[in-house]
Amino acid sequence: MAMKKIKFVLNGETCEWEVKPWRTLLEMLREDFQLTGTKEGCGEGECGSCTVIMGGKTVNSCLVPAVEADGQEILTIEGLAHGENLHPVQEAFVEKAGMQCGFCTPGMIMSAKALLDENPEPSENEIREGIAGNFCRCTGYTKIFESIQAAAEAMKGGK
């Protein structure tokens, strides 16, 4: 089947790429660009491990056809830190024990980042709602709430 040519911005860099129409965004990121930080848990849009930010909104990349990336800006976990400097959300997850096995963590952090971009001072309930599409089996979520609160605090003043 015909390959489709797409153009998009991936973690700040413009990319032109040819993809098969049935390929998912997750497959393209992991296999073509070796961005394996984005994980595949269920492959059915239920667990949130594959969450990336596309056009400012979180998506389950396992459900998004790669061709839909055309013309979009995509941010994955690999694009969050600036060189050696972690993003405040990443920093907070390390400091506040917001991760254990780490498998849900990239998706969880992307959901947290999108939440804080939209709502810089979320209440605890808004944090709970903001990550309700991301399963975590290890933490029981409490430390994740604390991490996101700490990140919100650190990001005050547009850091």
Binding site: L35, A81, M99, C101, G102, A132, R137, C138, T139, G140
Partner: protein, 761 residues
Amino acid sequence: MEEYSVIGKRIPRVDGRVKVTGEARYAADYSMPGMLWCKMLRSPYPHARIVSIDTSRAEKLPGVKGVLTGKDFNGWTWGWMPKTRDEPPLAVDKVRYLAEAVAAVAAIDEDTAEEATELIKVEYEELPGVFDPEEAMKEGAPRVHDYVKNNLSWDFHMDFGDVDKGFGEADLVREDRFETGRVITGYLEPPAAVALWDSGGITIWAAKQSPYFVYRHLAACFNLPLNKVRIIQPFIGAGFGGTKNDSLAGDFCSVLFSKRTGRPVKFVYNMHEVLMTCRRRHNMIIHNKMGMKKDGIITAMQSKVIADGGAYTAIGPLTMYLTGSISTLPYKLPHFRHDAYRIFTNNPIGAAMRGHGVTHTRFAAEIQMEMMAEELGIDPIEVRLKNAITAPYETINKVTVHTCGLKEGLKTLSENPKWKKRSGGSPPEGPLSHGVGISGTAYLGGARQRGHQSCGAVVRLCEDGTIDYLTGATDCGQGSDTVLVQIVAEELGLGVEDVDIKRVDTAVTPCDAGSYGSRVTVLAGGAARNAARDVKRQLAEVAARNWEVDPGDIIFKDQRVYVKGEPEKAMPFRKLAQVACYAGSGAVIIGRGYSQYGIEELDFDKGIGNAGTSYSFTSQLTEVDVDLETGFVKCTDMVIAHDCGRPLNPINVEAQNQGGAIQGMGQAMYERFAMDLGKTLNANLADYKMPLSTDVPNIELIDIITDDPNGPYGAKEASEGSTVSSPPSVVSAIHDATGIWFKEQPVTPEKIVMALKKKRE
């Protein structure tokens, strides 16, 4: 109490940074040039004879590099004990559960491999199946394994004291039937591996919680010496027992394909395969009988446990052992009898999961004890305090407890303002009824199975004063790498940043029993401490020679080394490392240590002795709001008073306990596999309900410090304890809100609505 520099501090995880940047690589993140993909063909029947398999069409599909069936493994089977080796890598003459692997394909890509599995033609002769363990035990039931009468996979019996005498002394005797559900471990990382067979033997990057199990399985299956089997650990996306503590069809097939093709071979199970086939918590029926005096003192307990073992034995004998041997904790039992039966059915395999074995029978005993206290008009905390053990204590089956913070934990909770919010049976004003529940439970740490149990550690000094630390213990996500690094750093007076823990690699790291039964901090931690002390001893000798003092007077602290009482005799640790490494003809400083297990022989047949080195005690208060119209339960708060001896990293111990408690809450309130004739009906994460961020309560944690003499720096286990304490505490709270005792997990809204309706009638 000795003052520590690193131990007991809230130190961020050593793997935190690589996990938040996406750098941490898990098994499925590995790929190699020329790599093939392996896919399984799975059985459409739960019980059927395999009449024939025709692989010719699959083999002819372009891109296919090989097809395997059960016969390719020459009759090899594996299992937890020599006499229970009943599981083949691929089904041979019959399939025993739905979606059991029957054949495997290796192809140049995943899609081709998948397509080829559909071209394999298997002729089956369907057999009558058996799916209910109580049915399966009956005479004449279909046999899952032809040679096993009444489908009895394993039985285990304990009989201590004289239960009849005990029941005779009781003022109240109750008999109840309890049931615990089939629960998934719930890791989000599906099992995966990349296998490579070359002249060096097998190398496999596999998602394994206890890689040394698989190391032995692969050596046995492929008839290789252990030094030709190399398992390199990626990061592990959690385990919680069961599947990642064992080998899988995908492991054996990928290795054999690599042997035949000379190419690396990868498999990744999808979540559907995980939920259809992977090992899950046994569901158990527990017939419990308890005797109690008017004052609340328990006189005797008798339990009959029937567990749905599924199609193969796996680790089931240990599960059965734990259902009974730990029942004698944490309440005094003068007379105890236990009969446990693990039954084969044509369901997926029951195996270990966090809170292994203990969660089932402790749930039954906790709820029954509280039911009886209620009948006798005794407060739920009071009945627990009356029966709780105090350390030191030896149970009737010779389980020895050196430290126990149960009473202190229960007393702490009894003084909590939340406990005063108990309804105690008073009716609610609106449709929402508030309830507060309690539990007090125990779990073992430093667990042992049969056979090799020890842990080893190697600490290598680099000439710049940094440390390479090698352990065979796997961090499956709960933070053991961090605590082990803390231990090495503490002993050498260094910071965690000076110690680098290497990934487990069976070719390099010392053999380790595995990451199960809350054993890593206790046993691998002991090994780490001993290995670090070995390095310290060698360095102290060098320093003592240098300063002409006694080696016992050399102090290691804050990255410096000095002589006790003579602060002018001091140098940086780094400097001493150089002096030591460059001394003489080139010294190499390597420390080694192993865990000194030091406990007496365990009688696995009779249930006598210690299955662990120490025991944690967890007291848990839970608050719920129950909607009496819809049966919906919202768990709002938990307070957990946990005796883990001493938390070596409090923030990680909190995190572990929170996770364990929520896992237990899910099991109590909604998690279960819905099964119909061997088919898992909810084999996806939308229909199998695990707790989400919007479901979890506020959790307050209280450390009860007991400093166990058998753990490093006083530590015992953490988090399996809260997995065990959570279900009875939640169910006790639901009872407080509804006035109804629910004896079957999970307590779903449907069950609550039906029970309330029945109560009104």
